[in-house]
Amino acid sequence: MKRLRFDRWTGQLPLTRAGSALGSTSMPRPGVSVATISPRCTAVRYQSTLQNTSVWQGNPTTLESDGPYEQYKLYEEDDGTDHERFPPLEELPEKATTLPSPPPERALQSAKLAALHARLSLPERLPLQTLARALVDASADEDARFNNTNLAFVGQSLIHYHVAEWLMCRYPRLPMDIMYAAMRGYAGPATLHQVARSWGIEHAAAPGGEVDPGLLQFSQQRVGDSITAFGYRRTESKAVQKLRWRHGLSSRVVFDDDFGDMIDVEDSRAELMARANTEWGNEYTRALAERAFANCTRAITGALYAHAGREAAASFIKAHILSRTLNMTYLFAFKKPTRELSLLCAREEFEPPVARLLSETGRASRTPVFVVGIFSGKDKLGEGQAANLNSARHQAAMNALKSWYLYSPGEDTRLPSEMLTEGAKPWEPAYIDIGEIISR
């Protein structure tokens, strides 16, 4: 059987040479004491990355004996590896393995990070160090100077602002419930998680100072202290969760976060933490991963804002978040559509709605089809088809209501934030609707 040569393998984790660890039985090389070998040897990483190979950068092959290649002396065992041809590619700073996240200066040496920067077409003004920081979740490194909490909060505010503004101008008649659902559909954690995945961001198995800075780092055991929601803590939150107390929309607008959810309460965090710590591969650990990926998307947006300014961040959000597709008609679920439609007609002073059968086929058969239209005077408000008359009428009322609620002034509606650019045309007021038909 062939001998496996781990030293020739490539990988993300640092591998130590045989006999380099403290307390190993092999003889150290004469002239090099064990104490000097071990800490640095453990810190040298073997990874074949192009930027650093000498083949490729055309580095001079003449080596000075005590120059940059002095470190090769540290390999005690001569196993025939030609260290001039296969140099260790990255030397970790001292104590890197004890740090919770990679030191910022290592960001410049990561090929993954540079590739991510180019893949997202980020401007050069956004340095790799900041991008590396955006990839460190609060659960990996608690120190707010090194994790992405601050950037994520800025990014989150920007994303929510742009999405909310766009929804308000594009669909001015959305009921608040649907508005929350649409907000979550575009900017919720599940969506931002998908966005980060679609950028090709990978995560490290476990966070640490020796990990490649181009990998997303979060802990699968801990919940980080990142702020991902802005709202007020309700005194009655426990009762709302356990006893299902009613919390109406008006109070949700005031107290809760941008998706109309109660902000994280201690209990749910504690439960998340306890269960993620003891179980594996369940909804809790998945929730932690989703949180970390979503925070990373927010942090990259926030970093872009910090370094390249408002316009760059706005076009980034437009390109990566608002360009996604969400079919708004799928967000509606009606309970009593006919009642709501007649109230709408009364409010708008239309004639009361009347359902009329437009066409039908196979009434006596197993599969009948009825097409029903809802008319207000001579205007047809909506049309629906179903296998029985009542369902068809309901369907028609739902379609009429959806076409009312999904009124849009057009695809290229101007947004208030566009006024911030220099030389913008004078603002024409956007359409504001008087509100929902029946609010709760």
């Binding site: 192009l50 540079a114 009606f334 437009l358």
Partner: protein, 137 residues
């Protein structure tokens, strides 16, 4: 309370709004001794530097794989991997293979029957037998 909201997650389409190259990483493996690696060694020396500079979105790595045929392995954002054995190929042939891997989206090769695939609603609508004047038989 008559309206309730159902939750949906928006769908991203690469190329609408922004384009993200789907090839994440390219590994080039070569052998110093084997004759089948001759072209690969030439490629690494002469053509690879320019190819790398032209493609900053992709992470590159070059590593020896002694006593094996040379191979290019590509990793994609969708988690799949594609590899091409480039034994006995000339440098420019290898460049073509590398470009092919870079431009691929990582999905399995499929036979495309319809020229356009879209999640947008049809502009024309779906034909209905219950509307219009109908067809007299």
């Amino acid at each position: 309370m008559t309206i309730r909201a159902l939750q949906q997650v928006s769908v991203g389409r690469n190329g609408v709004g922004s384009f993200v190259l789907q090839c994440k990483k390219l590994d080039f493996h070569y052998c110093d001794f084997g004759g089948s690696s001759k072209g690969m060694n030439g490629f690494i020396k002469s053509l690879l530097p320019a190819f790398v500079t032209a493609n900053p979105q992709v992470e590159f790595s070059v590593s020896p794989r002694p006593s094996r045929h040379p191979v290019i392995i590509a990793q994609y954002i969708n988690g799949r991997e594609k590899s091409v054995c480039v034994r006995n190929m000339q440098p420019y042939e290898i460049l073509k293979k590398a470009t092919l891997l870079r431009d691929s989206n990582g999905e399995k090769n499929k036979r495309t029957v319809k020229p356009v695939r879209s999640i947008n609603e049809s502009v024309r609508g779906v034909w209905s037998p219950y509307h219009g004047n109908g067809l007299r038989v």
